[in-house]
Amino acid sequence: MSPQLSLTLQYILIALAVAVSAWVVFRKQAPNAARSLRIALALPLLREHRPAWLRAFGKRIAPAPKASADGCGGCNNCETGPSS
């Protein structure tokens, strides 16, 4: 691997780490906004005429349905539940 390629790879990894970190902070600090953003991103990908792989990707980024009282026990694990 050439030094230039190695440096490029390093910057790609750093960009990924920074993007994931920014997403984690956003999701933890603003869970409702993060959920809305995921829905907004997923909806266009889930339309009927989209290719199957795009729809599958849309399903992956779509948030899970909000848990009902049975499922969400306010355990704080998801950090979006009610304070208990």
Binding site: S6, A17, S21, A22, V25, K28, D70, C75, S84
Partner: protein, 624 residues
């Protein structure tokens, strides 16, 4: 009433900390949060329960309540659901009143209140294993006969601990009968007096307390609850805890520091030079190592808290301090959360869930960040080491006295802030402190270890989650964009954080803060202790960790900063709301952006004004 074909609704009710949520989890297979402090459940939770007889029940886990005469929001939820007044919530068909078998004096009183509702009910005597271990004898038949409702034993923490309750539910599901009315249920009688009298009668009839335990309790309480001796004992206990936290944690902290240093060196030696190595070594390992290093202090503090909690002393400490704290707008229940905040404000704020009164709880949340958390110690150590001579005043070390003064200033400030908040809201009401005073007992090592494990895992999960993410982002802000080829100053000047730091001097110059300090305040937003490492980076010193940074930084800042600037920065760190996680916890616990904003604003305002006054006075006195 035939109920075979319908799903009956069951509600678990009881005093806080009687094991309702543990029983709920046992019966439904759910994994609700369980803790050994009161107030874990503040709203109703629902699950499904299948009995061995093939029946299905909808099971509600209601918030703990000391009385159906609600004194807090969560108690109001319990009261309204039980009575069938809760909007959109059908009244439960059957109430399962969970009582702590080791503390029947308090819990039976509530069971009698629930009984007076006139709904079908079962009393679940929970923690029967613990009661037996302590030698408490309970005559189930007598209790059942006197209460007029079925009484069953449960041990919520055992897999088969709900067997008797399930059998009872199967047996009575087809024929639910309300309890027969009794004299104590007369609405015209003085309810409190009747309840106490009836509780005493039931205890005399059905419960045998070990005389030795009662004698020991009385003898200890005579001293430990004494207005003078009790407070002195509490002060000594607190002093010993803080001594131990700082004295015992040292070797462990050194070990962690050496471990992270070794990891950084080993990884650095194997990675090629470049930004990725900087991220791993200077960012992630140094950053997380700087946070993990405080794990021993946190565990030692929690070990003491758990031992005191298990021994039955903590509620007594809260009782002792109630009057003093009430004068400052807090309550005795604030004591434990504020004590926790000396390790970190986050568990302290979370511990306020046990405070029933919402105003007391909010006041405690607001002042918890003022307690000197362990993350401030590296900053204090750095500045005291640089500016306070290592000399003795009498038998006391001058540096130690300054450190004590900083802690005392934080405590006094917290009491003053809560007092002002009380005056501000014109709150003249008295909130009676209702606390369980359980029997003293020797803590079980297993319980303490489990508690420590849970606390440790919570902390480590945070380190691996939000703190890791913030560390990476801060490293990015301090590293990019890089310096231009013709740069003359350090690269950090050109980074995002560097530029922000220079811009911040316009606001912080009146406090004596130079641009380097301003930059250090940015990563301090994630964790206060990071300010030390950041200062070292800013001054272009190659410090691998906080201690090394302190050693190298001391001469630099003692030469470069004035005493007035150092004092101003010390005062800043007493008040400053420089911890995003604490603010996020305030938001989560109050469920209010407004309260979080208020906390940030008042802490920032207090820090700014106090630092401004300190700096200007110090300059006027010639320390500038």
């Amino acid at each position: 009433m035939s109920t075979a074909s319908q799903t009956l609704r069951l509600a678990l009710v009881g005093n806080p900390n009687c094991g309702k949520t543990a029983l709920f989890n046992l019966l439904t297979g759910s994994r609700q949060k369980v803790a050994n402090y009161a107030g874990v459940t503040v709203e109703r939770k629902e699950g499904r329960l299948h009995t061995p007889g093939g029946r299905q029940f909808a099971l509600l886990d209601l918030p703990g309540a000391y009385s159906l005469q609600a004194a807090s929001l969560d108690e109001a939820v319990t009261r309204d659901v039980c009575r069938g007044f809760y909007p959109g919530e059908p009244a439960p068909d059957l109430l399962v009143c969970v009582v702590d078998a080791t503390n029947l004096r308090l819990h039976l009183r509530f069971a009698l209140e629930v009984r007076a509702l006139g709904k079908p009910m079962v009393v679940a005597l929970n923690m029967m294993d613990a009661a037996r271990r302590r030698g408490i004898g309970i005559d189930l038949q007598a209790l059942q006969r006197e209460l007029g409702v079925p009484v069953v034993e449960t041990v919520a923490v055992r897999r088969d601990g709900g067997k008797a309750l399930l059998a009872q539910l199967d047996a009575m599901a087809d024929h639910l009968h309300p309890p027969a009315p009794r004299d104590a249920d007369d609405p015209h009688s003085d309810m409190h007096v009747e309840l106490h009298a009836e509780t005493r009668r039931l205890l005399a009839l059905a419960v045998t307390m070990p005389t030795r335990t009662a004698r020991v309790d009385d003898a200890l309480d005579r001293w430990l609850l004494h207005p003078v001796v009790g407070l002195l004992t509490l002060a000594v206990v607190m002093f010993l805890i803080f001594q131990a936290v700082y004295a015992w944690a040292g070797p462990l902290m050194d070990g962690i520091e050496a471990g992270t240093g070794w990891l950084g060196d080993a990884l650095g030696a194997r990675m090629p030079e470049g930004p990725l190595k900087s991220l791993m070594v200077d960012g992630i390992i140094a950053g997380l190592g700087g946070v993990i290093i405080f794990l021993p202090q946190i565990l030692i503090l929690f070990a003491f808290i758990l031992v005191l909690e298990e021994s039955g002393y903590l509620p007594r400490a809260a009782f002792l301090l109630d009057r003093m704290m009430a004068a400052a707008g807090l309550s005795g229940r604030s004591f434990i959360p504020l004590l926790s905040s000396f390790a970190c404000a986050i568990p302290g704020i979370m511990a306020t869930r046990s405070i029933q009164d919402p105003r007391d709880r909010l006041a405690t949340i607001m002042v918890a960040p003022l307690m000197t958390c362990s993350a401030r110690l590296p900053v204090y150590a750095l500045l005291i080491g640089a500016f306070v001579p290592d000399e003795k005043i009498g038998i006391f070390n001058q540096q130690g006295l300054v450190l004590f003064g900083l802690y005392a200033a934080a405590i006094v400030s917290a009491l003053m802030v809560s007092w002002v908040m009380k005056k501000w809201r014109r709150d003249k009401s008295e909130h009676a402190l209702m606390l369980e005073l359980p029997s003293y007992r020797i803590p079980h090592p297993r319980d303490v270890l489990i508690g420590l494990w849970e606390r440790g895992m919570i902390f480590l999960k945070r380190v691996g989650g939000i703190i890791l993410a913030l560390t990476i982002l801060l490293w990015f802000l301090l590293t990019f964009p890089g310096a231009p080829p013709d740069a003359v100053g350090p690269a950090i000047d050109y980074s995002f954080a560097g530029r922000i730091g220079h811009a911040m001097t316009a606001v912080f110059a009146p406090l004596g803060f130079n641009w380097q300090i301003c930059i250090a305040l940015i990563p301090g937003l994630a964790a206060r202790e990071v300010a030390v490492s950041s200062l070292a980076t800013i001054y272009a010193l190659s410090a691998a960790d906080d201690d090394a940074a302190i050693q190298a930084l001391t001469p630099v800042i003692s030469d470069g900063w004035s005493l007035a600037t150092a004092l101003s920065l010390l005062v800043w760190f007493i008040y400053a709301p420089m911890c995003i996680s604490t603010l996020a916890t305030i938001k989560r616990e109050t469920n209010s952006w407004k309260q979080m904003g208020f906390a940030a604003f008042y802490l920032f305002g207090l820090a700014y004004i106090a630092s401004l006054v300190t700096y200007q006075v110090a300059v006027a006195l010639g320390a500038g």
